[in-house]
Symmetry: C2
Subunit: 162 residues, 2 copies
DNA sequence: ATAAAAATGACAATCATTCTCATTAGGCTT
DNA sequence: AAGCCTAATGAGAATGATTGTCATTTTTAT
C-alpha cells in the first residue's frame, strides 16, 4: 500500500478562519519586547502574517504581499526577520515535506495542525491530554523543553480528497 | 527570552543505541514487497540505514557510506530511493529546522524523538496515551490519517547543554 | 541634531533536492 | 541461456529556498 505524497504547494483556495487582528501598537510592542527596532518593513511583515485569509504563509507570500508598499524589499529582510521572530517565539515555523517553510503569528492559543495531503487544507486543534504527556515525557528524559512539533497528515472528508 | 536555534548539523559523536540488524534476505523481501527491483545499490542504501551507529542519517551520509562500494553512485539514486521508501512507509523522514532531511528505517516499533538543540542527541520514545489521542483527533475532524510528525526539542541533561 | 548601532536591500553564493536523458541492469519469457 | 521490456542508474545540469556580504540607510538614545 503506497502512501501518497504531499502536494508540492498548498491549494490557494482553502481558507482557515482568519485570526484576531492585532493593532499597530500591539505589533510595535512586540518588536520592542524583542529589543528589535521598529521599522515599517517589520510592521508590514507582522501585518502580512496577521491579516487573513491565509494564516500560514511562506516567506514568498510575505514578500509579495508587502511589495506594493516596499517595492525594493529584499528576501533577506523577510527571511531574517521571520527567523528572528521564530527564535523569540513570536512566530512559529511549519515545515511540511520539502515545501517552503510556512510561518504563523503565535497570537492565538498554542495549537497544532492537521493537514490534508490532498488539498492542503489546514485545521488547527488543541489537546490538553497531549500537552500534559509532553511535559511528562520531557521530565522523564530530563530534558528542558524548548518547543515541539506536532503535525498530523491525512485526507480530509471532501469527496475529492478521499 | 530568546529561544536558541538548532545547531546547523548534529554533533557526530552522540550515538543512540544501534538498531536491530536486518538480514540481507529481509532487505530483499522489503524491496519485493514494494514491487521494486532488487539492486545492489538499493541493498547498500538499506544497509547504510540499518547499520549503526547513527540511526538517523542524511542522504549525504548514505551517499558517503556506500561510495566505497559504488564509487559512481549518484545523489539522484540515493534521494530517489529514500523518497520511494518513505512513500511506502519503509523509512521515515525527519525534518528538523532547515537542516537536511534525515531518514531512518522503520524496523522498530513506532516511536517519536526528543532532540537536544545543543548537542544534537536524539532519544526515542513511545507514548500510548498520545497515540490514542491522535486517533481521536483525526476521527473528530473526519480525517483519514496517513502519518504524523511529533518531535520534541530541548536541552538534555549534560552539563554542557544546560 | 548627532552618533552609534542596527536594519535594509542588492546581489551573489550556498546547498539540498530534483530533473533529464542516455546507458545499463533486473527479471521475465521462451 | 539469450532476448526483451521496463525499471533503475548516474552524470550533469537545473531548481529553488535560504543565507551571506557589504555598502547604504534608518532608528533611537543622548
Amino acid at each position: 500500500m503506497e502512501i501518497p505524497q504531499l502536494p508540492k504547494g498548498y491549494t490557494k483556495d482553502e481558507l482557515i478562519e482568519p485570526r484576531t487582528k492585532l493593532s499597530e501598537s500591539n505589533l510595535k510592542s512586540m518588536l520592542r519586547s524583542m529589543n528589535l527596532k521598529v521599522t515599517n518593513q517589520r510592521l508590514s511583515i507582522l501585518k502580512a502574517l496577521n491579516k487573513g485569509p491565509k494564516s500560514h504563509v511562506t516567506a514568498k507570500d510575505v514578500f509579495e504581499s508587502i511589495r506594493s508598499d516596499y517595492p525594493h524589499i529584499g528576501f533577506a529582510t523577510v527571511y531574517r526577520f521571520l527567523k528572528e521572530t521564530s527564535r523569540f517565539g513570536i512566530t512559529s515555523e511549519l515545515r511540511i515535506g520539502h515545501a517552503p517553510a510556512r510561518y504563523e503569528l503565535k497570537v492565538r492559543e498554542h495549537h497544532h495542525h492537521i493537514v490534508c495531503t490532498q488539498c492542503g487544507k489546514i485545521v488547527e486543534f488543541q489537546n490538553e491530554i497531549i500537552e500534559r504527556q509532553i511535559k511528562k515525557i520531557s521530565k522523564d528524559h530530563q530534558f528542558f523543553l524548548e518547543h515541539h512539533i506536532f503535525e498530523l497528515y491525512g485526507r480530509c472528508n471532501r469527496s475529492s480528497c478521499k
